[in-house]
């Protein structure tokens, strides 16, 4: 029997998140410290991924992959033919949708403020003095 698997923080979510601590000018991308990572296959939809490529910050994704120890898996730049380059789209799909951080933290690159990730959920709540 197949029980539902849990979605943890995927790298696509990381790509959207930024530090919002008061006074921070450049809080992007957040530094990932991963204690527990899970890779899980999900359905590959080339159209969806090629659309996502236009919506994400590519350098932040390659950096995120490095931060969790998956080096040299992605090209430094998005290839020009990305829409039709199936191999590339598969790599991007894997990076964006299939790698999940279960436990760890996200750290603001400027202030050093750490946001915990527990059970795959990033907790981005700020204290009153940080708003």
């Amino acid at each position: 029997m197949r029980l539902s698997a849990f979605v943890r923080m995927r790298l696509i979510t990381h790509n959207m998140l930024t530090s919002h601590v008061k006074g921070v000018k450049n809080g992007y991308p957040l530094v990932i410290k991963a204690e527990d990572i899970k890779e899980q296959e999900t359905d590959f939809n080339p159209d969806f991924i090629s659309r996502m490529i236009t919506r994400i910050e590519w350098p932040a994704l390659t950096k995120a992959m490095e931060m969790i120890g998956h080096t040299d898996q992605l090209p430094e730049e998005v290839p020009k033919d990305y829409e039709t380059n199936n191999d590339f789209l598969k790599q991007a799909h894997h990076a964006l949708m299939e790698i999940e951080v279960i436990t760890g933290s996200l750290t603001c690159p400027e202030s050093g403020r750490e946001f915990p990730i527990a059970n795959g959920i990033p907790n981005m709540l700020l204290n009153e003095d940080e708003v």
Partner: protein
């Protein structure tokens, strides 16, 4: 096994799995060292000694006791034993204790040991509202050391003015002497020695729980011999501060909580447990202990003889009688500054959602058609942020998009995660997302929870910041007008009885000291003012007793016609594409320009 039977069983197992997940358990499809056995709880009338015996046949394990639940959790030393146990116990039938029936076991794996707060929250539902129970607050050595000190004090202080042999127990007072005639203390007459040194460590630890507003300065130690008790009472709210804490040593006992119109709740008091009486349990419930020599525990299955029990009750004496630490009925004013708004949202929005999350989620499953329509109107594969996504009602309705949810409530986000939806926790006043990263945002039934106009505008600004230029935003907020073109909203329609408008009018507050009070709304009736507290009657799905119904007040600012539009028009870079009324809500579709 026949195919049909197999199918039926699989269906049943899926159902049970969903139920366990609803309890907050995180079921893993791969074997782990923690096994949860459905139908093996004390709530299923399964004998825990027999169960312990059974589960330990498969390897070293601890039976995590989950009283009254319909499941048991067993922690094995390793995954192999857990797998062996789960496979062997699947479908196992155990005779129930009281009836001529079998309990059929279904086994699952947990991907972590249930967090304290998961079990804690469940147990809380069996306690009066506001009562916080922390078991094993002390270890046995610390307990014995304290008992030794107390016994010493009793021997030297007996017949002293601070010790009394009451009719049904012996008491010692520190800090201030408790006056039983008036149930208070004489604030002008403190006992010079103050609190005994040997409780300082314990007191530090109680303070560290964060529940006490100030360090207690009065301590009453009660010694109960078998057969002793204390009549039902509520501790004086004029003389003592808002939170009471009590630590129990020695014997177990059972404390009875009673409240008018509510069924009695019996709370088992294990030794070394800390109880914090906050909120309703402090003001509205009476607590007492029956004069008995034994107690019946575990729903009639276990009889335990009482021995000597010591209880340490810590109180903070209110020094300024005019500024009492607590009032019976709190009065809420419409906040005028950020700090008041912040604390109102924290107490009457955030903490309420955290408490009602499960029940709330079960009532918010059906998506609203016009919201779905909006999502479907977006170009394929849009990146959409749902701000205040709750339990994820809209996160799964449009598979063609990438939907990301966020909410202030950790409990609600936990439910999203169980449903497989990507989400994170944050406050909508400050979204932790990069500017322009989304194609669209939805914010459904959220901004009516912000307590000042400034904050409501701030929330809309944040939505605009999150989307790219040309990006669309859909906002829904509750309307004061619950009828549109003479059609009643669903909210009003659900009211079976015709509302007595006169009665409600009389509830409307008059300005007090120039400040406007928040009205407590009568559900399913017309709104009488814009800023109000709306009761949420929470049914506890997990408990069988009728008494598990509690009311929480949520803060709302209901919107007037054109109000939402006019907020948006104050923001540059925002163009209102459409503004409409949908079933008791005011709605706008915005575009970032």
């Amino acid at each position: 096994m026949s195919e049909a039977l197999k199918k039926r069983q699989e269906k049943k197992k899926r159902k049970i799995c969903a139920k366990l997940q609803a309890y907050g358990l995180q079921i893993d499809c791969n074997p782990t060292s923690t096994v949860v056995i459905a139908n093996a709880g004390i709530g299923n009338m399964v004998c825990s000694t027999e169960l312990t015996h059974l589960v330990s046949q498969y390897g070293d394990c601890i039976l995590l006791k989950l009283d009254g639940k319909s499941y048991a959790v067993v922690q094995y030393k390793n995954t192999e034993s857990a797998k062996y146990a789960a496979e062997s116990l699947e479908g196992h039938q155990m005779v129930k204790q009281t009836k001529n029936e079998f309990a059929t076991f279904y086994c699952f794996y947990l991907n972590n040991i249930p967090q304290e707060d998961v079990i804690f929250a469940e147990e809380k539902s069996d306690l009066p509202n506001g009562l916080i129970k922390i078991e094993n607050f002390l270890n046995k050595e610390e307990e014995q050391a304290l008992i030794n000190c107390i016994q010493h004090d009793i021997s030297i202080l007996s017949n002293d003015h601070v010790s009394e042999k009451l009719k049904h127990r012996t008491v010692l007072h520190y800090g201030y002497k408790f006056r039983y005639g008036t149930n208070d203390v004489d604030i002008n007459n403190p006992i010079s020695e103050g609190l005994p040194n040997y409780i300082e460590n314990l007191l530090d630890r109680i303070m560290a729980t964060g529940y006490l507003p100030s360090r207690p300065d009065q301590l009453t130690i009660n010694m109960y011999e078998p057969g002793d008790g204390i009549p039902p009472h509520t501790d004086n709210t004029r003389s003592f501060d808002g939170v009471l804490s009590t630590v129990s040593l020695g014997s177990h006992t059972v404390m009875n909580f009673s409240k008018e119109g509510a069924e009695r709740i019996d709370v088992c008091v294990e030794p070394r447990t800390l109880f914090l009486f906050t909120g309703e349990s402090r003001y509205e419930w009476r607590h007492g202990i029956q004069q008995r020599k034994f107690d019946i525990l575990d729903q009639g299955k276990k009889i335990t003889t009482r021995t000597i029990r010591y209880s340490l009750t810590f109180r903070t004496v209110v020094k300024d009688a005019g500024k009492s630490g607590c009032t019976q009925k709190e009065e809420f004013l419409i906040p005028e500054n950020e700090s008041d708004a912040n604390s109102l949202e924290s107490s009457h929005v955030h903490s309420v959602y955290d408490k009602i999350a499960d029940h709330f989620s079960s009532t918010r499953e059906k998506p609203w058609p016009h919201v779905v329509e909006f999502l479907q109107s977006l170009p394929r594969a849009s990146v959409v942020l749902d701000v205040g996504c709750g339990s994820g009602r809209y996160l799964g309705v449009c598979q063609q998009h990438f939907m990301l949810g966020c909410d202030r409530s950790v409990s609600l986000i936990n439910i999203c995660k169980q449903k497989n939806f990507p989400s994170f926790v944050c406050n909508g006043l400050k979204l932790p997302v990069r500017e322009g990263s989304f194609d669209a945002c939805i914010c459904i039934a959220v901004i009516h929870h912000y307590a000042t106009e400034k904050r409501r505008i701030q929330a809309i600004k944040e939505l605009l910041r999150a989307v790219r230029i040309g990006g669309k935003i859909l906002i829904y907020a509750w309307a004061i007008e619950q009828t549109c073109n003479n059609v009643k909203s669903k909210y009003l329609k659900k009211n079976a009885v015709t509302s007595n408008q006169e009665h409600i009018e009389s509830d409307v507050s008059s300005p007090k000291d120039g400040k406007q009070k928040l009205a407590v709304h009568v559900n399913r009736t017309l709104f009488v003012q814009q800023d109000l507290l709306v009761p949420w009657k929470s049914k506890n799905v997990n408990s069988k007793s009728n008494n598990s119904c509690s009311t929480y007040l949520r803060y709302y600012h209901v919107f007037k016609e054109n109000e939402l539009q006019s907020l948006c028009s104050q923001i540059t870079e925002c163009s209102v594409l459409k503004s409409y009324h949908d079933n008791g809500n005011w709605c706008v579709i915005l575009e970032k320009v």
